[in-house]
């Protein structure tokens, strides 16, 4: 009846029990607070069932933030183990748990933090910046979000029921095959990624179509803000790469559940094919994350330099070159697998070629400051920190791209330091900059600058302390993912430094939490208008708070920096079209229902509860059919209501 599920699946060790109890209590507190303040209806109608991308975006960011905290907790355990307990066999963290923790750390940080923050920002910014009222498929957008949540929940359920994968964040077979990982860990990994991945794919297609079809009249491709170009690159990669992930995970799960031999090392299976396929998705994935960060900085630098972006066309060419090239380099993740010299050399050179457009972008950002008037608000500090860390990461990346050097540093902590350089220094710093920059647009108040700056410096210094030693350790011969090493190697000092770096980062995170809490508390004092930074693009042209329909009139666009031009004295204002009524999508619970069903299907397959999986699958199909038959899906906002709303919102800020 319940498949593999039994009471044995509950956690046995104190650390996991502590985590589960802590998480459970936090959840309970949230439920109690919602009940006490009678906020359930508000939560349901204003948030959970909303199809407004501004709301969905905020929900993505909330989930990503919570997951960031869990990912950091995992990272702290890894650092503590390697700094304190790795030279003895008596630490509180067993090898098995250590391996679950680093597998979870990588999976969570990439899929549920970086991807969550990415789609959160896309939901918030893309429709506004292209001057649109909504995304192309609002209901699909909600479904994507809830699939992402279902994956996230499944991933965290593994903490309480069963176990997580010990095979690393990409779960190479044969280690992730049935022979060496017979438990439920790898299945949790597969299904939380599979479900969240389908959400990402749907969302990617949705936003791609949004950008291609819903841009403001007059916004030709060459007048699109550079952030939108970066997002196009990112989404093309999502659309082409995520199907590979879905297919690969499906084959691996067939191997594990019905005994096929796609990736086993016997009976004609080929584990090396898996490694190729997972990186054919995995390398573009890196650029899926970093391209939007490039876009964010391309918005921030001109605004804080009060100057147009330097080399727009170069930037677009560079973005598109990176997009295409990112599909031609996957083999550099396994030069040591023994492909011939011709193959290795080809992929090594292709990898270096990506450094060219990336270098061009860095130079163009720096030259945007040239003869500008640069102010150093927090987003600009994140930019400076980004250039420093990202350049170091780029340099070590070029080193890794040379097969002869990769032979000596592959799978060592040098590699770990490199990709954290790119993902923390590139992606995370970019998202932090973006959130700080766009925060006032959506809330009406700025984040406190002083606390933000302290957080920035903690992150930057903590980052250097935590990761520069790892470069050295890698060159000393320390492999990644080790939970123990001989004390006589003399590695411990550097691991301790890395651990201190982790603590400094945690202080930075603490200041970020404080910054948000303090800014919410002091929101009246930090109140700003609809355009606090002197913005250049359309999102700053609408009122704050932003009306549900974003823009009352879709006035045609004539310039690349449209809003900057509009604010100039003597600007020839385009005639705004007459107000008409606006259709907005009605709330629907379809997304949350499908998300729940998908989560249960995943859980049922993991535990081999086949009847439950079947019932939920049928329920999903029926739900979708019923939902598509519904005709009453839109609400009309009349001209009178718009006039009323505009008067209220514009009045609130001016």
């Amino acid at each position: 009846m319940w498949g593999r599920l039994s009471l044995d699946a509950l956690p046995h060790d104190m650390i996991t029990i502590g985590g589960v109890v802590g998480g459970g209590l936090a959840l309970l507190a949230a439920v109690a607070a919602l009940t006490y303040f009678k906020k359930w209806r508000w939560l349901w109608t204003n948030w959970l069932t909303s199809l407004d991308p501004k709301k969905i975006g905020v929900m993505y960011l909330v989930v990503a933030t919570i997951m960031l905290l869990r990912g950091l907790a995992d990272a702290s355990m890894l650092r503590a183990q390697q700094a304190i307990f790795a030279t003895s066999d008596a630490g509180p963290i067993s090898s098995d748990m250590f391996q679950q923790v680093f597998s979870a750390h990588g999976t969570i940080m990439i899929f549920f933090v970086a991807m969550g923050a990415l789609f959160g920002l896309l939901n918030l910014i893309v429709p506004l910046q292209i001057g649109s009222r909504d995304v192309a498929f609002p209901m699909l957008n909600s479904i994507s979000f809830w699939l992402f949540v279902a994956g996230m929940v499944l991933m965290n359920v593994s903490l309480a029921v069963g176990e997580f994968s010990t095979a690393g964040w990409l779960a190479y077979p044969p280690l992730s095959g049935l022979e060496y990982s017979p438990g439920t860990g790898v299945d949790y990994w597969i299904w939380s990624l599979q479900i969240a991945g389908i959400g990402s794919l749907l969302s990617g297609i949705n936003f791609l179509i949004t950008i291609f079809t819903l841009r403001r009249p007059g916004m030709t491709l060459k007048k699109m803000p550079i952030f939108i170009w970066a997002v196009i690159g990112c989404l093309l990669l999502v659309a082409f790469a995520f199907p590979i992930l879905t297919a690969t995970l499906s084959l691996l799960s067939l191997d594990r559940t019905i005994g096929t031999h796609f990736f086993t090392s016997t009976m004609g299976g080929n584990p090396m094919m898996y490694v190729n396929l997972i990186w054919a998705w995995g390398h573009p994935e890196v650029y899926i994350l970093v391209l939007p960060a490039f876009g964010i900085f391309s918005e921030i630098v001109p605004v804080f330099s009060k100057k147009r972006l330097f080399g727009y066309t170069s930037m677009v060419v560079a973005l598109m070159a990176i997009t295409i090239l990112s599909f031609t380099v996957w083999l550099h993740h396994f030069f040591t697998m023994g492909a011939g010299a011709n193959v290795n050399a080809f992929f090594g050179i292709m990898t270096m070629v990506i450094a060219i457009p990336t270098g061009v972008k860095v130079f163009n950002w720096i030259f945007t400051m040239f003869r500008g008037r640069v102010t150093f608000a927090t987003p600009m500090l994140w930019f400076m920190g980004f250039v420093v860390t990202f350049t170091i990461g780029g340099l070590t990346g070029v080193l890794l791209a040379v097969p002869g050097i990769d032979f000596q540093v592959h799978n060592s902590l040098f590699l770990v330091a490199h990709f954290h350089n790119m993902i923390i220094g590139g992606v995370l710093f970019g998202f932090f900059a973006g959130v700080t920059y766009w925060w006032p647009k959506f809330t009406g108040f700025r984040l406190h600058e002083g606390l933000g700056k302290i957080a920035f410096w903690c992150w930057l210094i903590g980052f250097m302390l935590a990761f520069l030693p790892l470069y050295a350790l890698g060159l000393m011969g320390a492999a990644r993912r080790i939970d123990g090493y001989d004390a006589s190697l003399g590695w411990q000092e550097l691991f301790v430094v890395a651990g201190i770096g982790m603590l400094v980062i945690l202080v930075g995170v603490l200041f970020q939490v404080l910054q948000v809490a303090y800014s919410v508390w002091k929101r009246r004092e930090l109140r700003v208008g609809s355009d606090p930074w002197g913005g250049r693009t359309l999102e700053w042209s609408t009122s704050t708070p932003i009306a549900e329909y974003n823009f009352a009139q879709l006035t045609p666009v004539t310039h690349r920096d449209e809003f900057w031009e509009q604010k100039r004295p003597g600007h020839n204002k385009q005639a705004a079209p007459a107000l008409t009524s606006i259709q907005v999508p009605k709330n629907t619970s379809l997304g949350i229902v499908i998300g729940m069903l998908a989560g249960v299907i995943g859980f049922a397959i993991i535990w081999h509860i086949w009847w439950l999986a079947f019932v939920c699958l049928v329920a999903t199909i029926v739900t979708v059919i019923v939902a598509t038959l519904r005709e009453d899906t839109e609400r009309i906002i009349t001209v009178d209501e718009i006039v009323e709303t505009e008067k209220r919102l514009r009045g609130a800020t001016s």
């Binding site: 190479y172 170069s314 070629v353 720096i366 400076m384 040379v402 410096w457 003399g490």
Partner: protein
């Protein structure tokens, strides 16, 4: 948003920058003092020598881009800051590009990458782990089997086998043939150079040579289960005479290794001590690989076995 201009160097910025510099200096000093400890930069064999050279060359070439980036970043941030009255008149808000400068940005990296590309092509062929090393001495063959969680070394020409310790004569090419009877693992001796994946059924080649006698640390770098971090071994380069005596001694050993004993050894175990065996069955390596190459797989796996086909 108009505020009175603040000094560029606020207390927070000064404290942070000083701290930042201290961190970098401290780390740098530590590394200089521990230079001997950095295996990759202290090569003891011809492959590792070349790889270190390549590392230093690429790093220096990269600096040609990194240094200008850092200099320009901080120089422009300083010079064009809002409060700087000297440069105010040179504010050009409309400037959005320059063919010359952008051409330079594309040109410099293209030139550098072209140079590096040529070096990469040549060095990748030179360092191909399958390529035989130039030497007037006859190479020694060592067959390596990655197990959960220990390394088995087979010397088919000498009829001996060892666990977690591999010895070979100095200044002589060693031809490692590498496979696994475990999840994918990786064989790496940082002082000697080039790591290689060990995979079920495969026969990866790796050719290394140590300059002089010495004892080096080898390990696994690819996770293959719970005891992965224990998979260390000693790689010991000895004189030719010592090597001869060592092999002779082990050939007299009472411990024999053939299929049954191997199957017992292959069971997962952690902290396996160093041990020596007389190799009873000299085709053991092929039999281990054969576990993963049953007849009905030959068509689909044919291309992946190795460059030489089945031995």
């Amino acid at each position: 948003m108009k505020k009175p201009t603040k000094p560029f160097l606020t207390p927070l910025r000064i404290t942070s920058l000083v701290f930042f510099v201290l961190v970098v200096v401290a780390l740098g000093t530590f590394l200089l003092l521990n230079g001997k400890n950095i295996a990759v930069l202290n090569p003891q064999g011809i492959i590792a020598d070349k790889e270190k050279g390549l590392f230093i060359f690429t790093l220096s070439l990269g600096m040609l881009v990194v240094i200008p980036v850092f200099v320009m970043l901080f120089a422009f941030a300083w010079k064009y800051r809002e409060g700087n009255t000297k440069t105010k008149r040179r504010y050009t808000p409309e400037a959005d590009g320059s063919r010359l400068i952008e051409g330079l940005w594309w040109g410099i990296p293209i030139t550098i990458i072209t140079i590096l590309g040529v070096v990469t092509w040549i060095s990748t062929h030179d360092l191909d782990p399958y390529r035989a090393l130039d030497s007037d001495k006859k190479p020694i063959t060592v067959q390596v089997v990655a197990l959960q969680w220990k390394w088995l070394f087979l010397y088919p020409d000498y009829g001996i086998a060892t666990v977690n310790e591999v010895r070979f004569p100095e200044d002589t090419p060693v031809n490692f043939e590498i496979t696994a009877d475990a999840p994918m693992s990786a064989f790496w001796i940082p002082n000697l150079g080039t790591q290689t994946y060990a995979m079920n059924g495969m026969n990866s080649q790796l050719k290394l040579e140590a300059h002089t006698t010495g004892e080096y640390r080898g390990s696994n770098t690819n996770i293959n289960g719970e005891g992965y971090a224990d998979m260390e071994f000693k790689a010991i380069a000895t004189t030719k005479q010592e090597f001869g005596l060592w092999t002779k001694a082990i050939q007299q050993s009472d411990e024999h290794l053939a299929w049954t004993a191997y199957e017992e050894l292959a069971q997962p175990s952690r902290h396996q001590p160093v041990s020596y065996y007389m190799l009873h069955d000299r085709s053991l390596y092929d039999k281990i690989r054969g576990k993963y190459m049953d007849s009905n797989t030959s068509t689909s796996q044919g291309a992946n076995i190795d460059h030489e086909g089945m031995n």
